[in-house]
Symmetry: none
Subunit: 213 residues, 4 copies
């Protein structure tokens, strides 16, 4: 009975307390990824997710408020993991005594590699990014975090006189956008060979942008 006059505040979905619960929850998440990857978010019905998960629709709704909540949770996991990894890789102390070019290369390599995780999911994420404000904000929160880390790193390197760029904020933005998209596109479309060459090129581009020869 959808859209009822007096809707009660949604009862918190089952919080996984028992092992079985947690497992079911994960099964739903996995099924959702599979469906989303196969058909896209909009074209995936909750019924399809449930079927794939081998449970009833109602069960699914016991764990998630709605379809969107499933994707939001998936997003959270994915972007959080990526963000954490990147921010940690940007820790200035790691860069201080290393060859910066090497570091750039390693970072980009890693970024590209990370994008390899459930690529279908990433397509969905982008798809939502342009449709759903809440989604966009979640992603942008991560991005801001990464950009801040980039700026910090750049300023540390700048203090050492090793940096060529002056407008660190703009550099951070451009680099972030460039790498993000290059990596995404690569993952969405191409094979390994192209990928390797692109990583190489991207590293060069960023290195030369940042550092003096």
């Amino acid at each position: 009975m959808p859209k009822k006059a007096k809707r009660k505040q949604r009862p918190e979905p089952r919080t996984p307390q028992q092992a079985r619960s947690r497992r079911t929850r994960q099964i739903v998440l996995d099924a959702a990824v599979a469906c989303f990857e196969a058909k896209g978010y909009d074209a995936t019905t909750t019924a399809a997710i449930a079927r794939k998960a081998g449970i009833a629709v109602g069960t699914l709704y016991g764990y998630f408020h709605d379809k969107r909540a499933i994707l939001l949770e998936l997003l959270e996991g994915t972007t959080k993991a990526i963000g954490d990894y990147v921010v940690q890789s940007l820790e200035p102390t790691l860069w201080r005594h290393a060859d910066p070019r090497q570091s750039v290369r390693r970072l980009i390599d890693a970024l590209f590699h990370i994008r390899t995780f459930n690529p279908g999911m990433q397509r969905i994420l982008w798809e939502r990014y342009f449709k759903d404000a809440e989604f966009r904000q979640a992603v942008q929160a991560i991005e801001r975090r990464v950009r801040v880390a980039l700026v910090d790193l750049f300023e540390a390197l700048q203090a050492d006189g090793r940096l060529r760029v002056t407008d660190t904020a703009a550099a951070a933005f451009v680099i972030y956008a460039s790498i993000e998209w290059t990596a995404s596109r690569l993952m969405l479309e191409s094979g390994d060979t192209e990928s390797d060459a692109a990583v190489e090129a991207a590293s060069d581009m960023v290195s030369r942008f940042l550092f003096r020869d």
Copy 2:
């Protein structure tokens, strides 16, 4: 999704041969852009487009096979225009006797500027890009074209010994992706000041990547 678009054999909808026809067609297209920009593609109903266009739904279907066809045509116009412009800007002869740095700067400037056209529409375009294979292909066709033009340019510059990069295909890909996304993100989110700084940074990045100091 009512009456699943069964993609039956479609008798070509009326091809615009008369002036009035063409005008009506354009009115629909304009109305569609307005609606899509305002609410997004999915949330825009054909009825809304017809209302905005001041015609009946049925009439609309006289000009376009379905909702998707409208967007597809819109895409075609937009990307074709952008592609043409860029390809033309990449014409090697234009670069031969100019300061390459200046040229890069002008190109990027132009690219960014172009993105400023109906930004709402571009959001829709991206949104579809990830959802609709046919769309993706249409966009990618343009991209390929641009990439080929880039490669041609690079090889021309290479012959002159002015280029630093060797893997021109990879460079083309990376540069294209970087600029495309930087520009898109800028248009989607930021103000003019940030934009100017970003254009500057992007130009530097690409120039240093391509050319020796």
Copy 3:
């Protein structure tokens, strides 16, 4: 696709401009009354109404925003008609030169009679009255109107020294409630003989309450 993230403002349901439209609208209303009377409001599905009306669900939604709107419109007609009738019967000039007892009798008679119209509908109306605040308000608006008319009448009669009661507001309330419920119950349950006797008794009760012997 119920409950979508970005819901557009509901497009005004088809306003009946053509004859056919108006007819269809009425067919829906009639079908709805039949269904509501037979199964009650909650147990009546929009699909059932459409089926009864011999149209598609979508068509129904072209004329009414939702199920509730249908009932609301039905309510409006019913209560408005009743209210108008009663208020008009209470016009003081009509009472001035008549035997008040006779007048009371006629009024009550009429009230009871009116309740005989689509009795099933009235059951629905009461059912909603206790569940739906908007409904309650609609009904109470009518009630207030009637009560005001009663008070006016009483005060006119009072000026003539013909009235026994002093607290006219309280009298109006009690009389209104008494007659309303007696009539409703009668209509809901009993046969004609009981009904006649009850009308008689109610008239006596009200007359003796209001007037000196």
Copy 4:
């Protein structure tokens, strides 16, 4: 409406034989009243009742066949109590030597007072009255009882020559309906002052109806 209550042969749910059982049963009943009052019958889920009662849904079903049974039991308690009280107040011997006007007043006063108990619950009761035949019958059984008591009382008073009305059955019906509804409405809507005035008016009305001045 999930799994349409097919009213299968029901093995009597555990009859409360032990103290603990009876206590749990009562806890459920109390929780149900609270929920019903707060959100209405339909909008109250069995899960909500169970939560409020601090037990599991399954447990609840150990004590009651279904949601409806809970309300039915609640109804029974409420109406039985009211009925008992009224019937007892109508005991002819109590009226024989008292001032009838005083007695009427006391009775009505009491009736009104009783309606003050869990008013939310009464709203539910009325709501169901119009929706659920079984409910209606249960309520009507009580009403009949009260009406019989009224008739008995009236005939006793008639024998004493103190009564003005002749059709005692009709009088009983009308008076019962009038007071019931006046009291209900008062409880549902108004403040104390209005209430007092209404009690006064109602007493006058009934007294004058029944008795000669």
